[in-house]
Amino acid sequence: MAEALENLSEQLWSRLSFLKEFVLRLRKKPLAFTGLLVLIFWIFVSILSPVLVPYGPTEFSTDKFTSPGLDHWFGTDRWGRDIFSRVIAGSRTAFILALSATGLGLFGGTLIGLTAAYYEGPIGELLGRAMDILMAFPALLIAMFILGVLGPGTFNVILVIGLAHTPRIGRVARSAALEVKAQEFVEAAKVRGESNFYIMFSDILPNILDTLGVEGAIRFAYSIFLSASLGFLGLGVQPPTPDWGLMISEARNHLQTAPWMVIFPALAIASLVLAANFLAEGIEAYSSGDI
């Protein structure tokens, strides 16, 4: 088992040096490259958000519904909170939610997918069917439903979005793993008498990392999408936390008088999701050898 982990981490390190080459090649795909830049921009904004905000993101003031101007670049909302500061601080909420949920989904989905592919026969069949049935629930509806039972809150939102991702990632991981499993080196490892654990995590897993990377980027984009939707529906992160979806839902009743309350958080969501989707296309093109 230790050997398997060591082998996996070695493979992961060698992937990191690929990163440089990946970025260089990505420049041939301008949209994907822009996506990468926008994503990096948002990562920096979310890390530096406490320093970048000119006002406290949850701080009330008497300047209510101020239109965008020099004092408040993106205007203020009905409590006089600075929207620029809330959009900046909201990026951290978005990243925390989306990264944790994607991580959770990748972990669960990969584990289930690898197991289902490796143990073909009753176990694999059962897991495959279970994933198919879970996929029959539209993701947003499962998330809403479980959140309704568990109650809203950051941790529950992460859990629910991660759960919604798991069967989809599981299916992708399973079909990728089945392809790898059919190759000779896996047969050879079996003949050598390697443990099942070693074969799954050290022979198969490293060879499906590209597929998981594309899927991870798509799921990340979708996590932002889902958490914003849940926030909008009032089932996600609760006020006064700065959250883009929640900001838009609060702005809904002031569309006529204060459209800026919608426009800026909407641009933030769209730019981040679009960037992640463009990047996912780039990773796909890279792993299929198109660039």
């Binding site: 049935i133 539209p138 769209a270």
Partner: protein
């Protein structure tokens, strides 16, 4: 074909049963007191006990499940907890009708538009038109429908004043005078779906264009219009049916955001309100309806697909 159809039908029914079990378990079987969930944390012990008695919550879980399932099979979905005395069944039927109107409206718009765009992009691969379509559709996929919806409201209701911002239709006034209320919700609902279908259509047209049979058709001098109609479209549009089916499921789930944005009285918003008011009978019935609808749509498209695709029709595939 008959064997295949009955096998798929059986599969669908089993899936719905399992889904009903999962829905029930999550709604009522998770640790936590249902009575507490309904009445809130400040309820007195007496009122909690009274509600447990009324709902029969003191009975074991499996008895309650079988009881509920029995009701569902006889068309009895129970009584709403938050709207006193309202039967869940008729309420659901009424809301489902509204949702279907919205879904069909979106479908009527999405399918022709996205097939046209997808085929155009695929036939003109790597041209500026293809790039434009690809970027636009990726943009459509990236905008959650509540954002699309609010932008549409901003433009068409707030600034131009052409269309109403609320989709609250009322059947008693006749549907045709209210069609304008449906336009914005349908457009908002169509965005993401159009994006996905265009991309899939394009991909499958490109794949068929690269295939040997298309190349040989062109090489043997067949005129290009006939190649496109006989070879490319026939083969490329087949897998697209499945993609449309998958997106129908999305239509049912994604509708919740659109229905909330436009205050549209559909199933999804009924479920959302029920979740917020902890109205368990409506939650369970609504979800079961959506899942069953999704499973049956999938079944229908699978059968349609196998009927159109000769490989499956003669039992070579599967």
């Amino acid at each position: 074909m008959l064997i295949y159809s009955s096998k798929r039908l059986l599969q669908a029914v089993v899936s719905i049963f399992i889904a009903s079990l999962l829905i029930f378990l999550v709604a009522e079987g998770l640790p936590g007191d249902v009575a507490q969930m309904v009445l809130g944390q400040y309820a007195t012990e007496e009122s909690l006990e009274a509600l447990r008695q009324e709902l029969g919550l003191n009975r074991p879980l499996h008895v309650r499940y079988l009881d509920w399932l029995n009701g569902v099979l006889h068309g009895n979905f129970g009584t709403s907890l938050s709207r006193s005395g309202i039967r869940v069944g008729p309420l659901l039927v009424q809301r489902a009708r509204n949702s279907l109107v919205l879904a069909f409206g979106a479908l009527l718009f999405v399918v022709p538009v996205s097939l046209l765009l997808g085929v155009t992009a695929g036939l003109n691969r790597d041209s500026w038109l293809d790039r434009l379509i690809s970027v636009t559709t990726l943009g459509l996929i990236s905008f959650p429908s509540f954002i699309t919806g609010l932008i549409l409201i901003l433009i068409f209701s707030v600034y131009l004043g052409w269309l109403p911002a609320s989709g609250a239709i009322d059947w008693s006034n006749g549907i045709f005078s209210q069609l304008n209320k449906l336009i914005l919700p349908i457009l908002a609902l169509s965005g993401v779906m159009t994006g996905y279908i265009v991309r899939h259509t394009r991909a499958s047209v490109v794949k068929v264009m690269k295939s040997d049979y298309t190349r040989s058709a062109i090489l043997k001098g067949m005129n290009s219009k006939r190649v496109i109609v006989n070879h490319v479209l026939r083969n490329a549009l087949l897998p697209t049916i499945t993609v449309i089916a998958i997106n129908l499921g999305w239509l049912l789930g994604g509708a919740v955001v659109v229905e909330a944005t436009f205050s549209y009285p559909g199933v999804a918003r009924l479920i959302l309100t029920a979740i917020k008011q902890r109205d368990i009978p409506i939650m369970e019935a609504g979800l079961l309806f959506v899942v069953a609808a999704y499973i049956f749509v999938n079944l229908f498209t699978d059968l349609l697909y196998s009927f159109i695709n000769p490989k499956l029709r003669y039992g070579e595939g599967e």
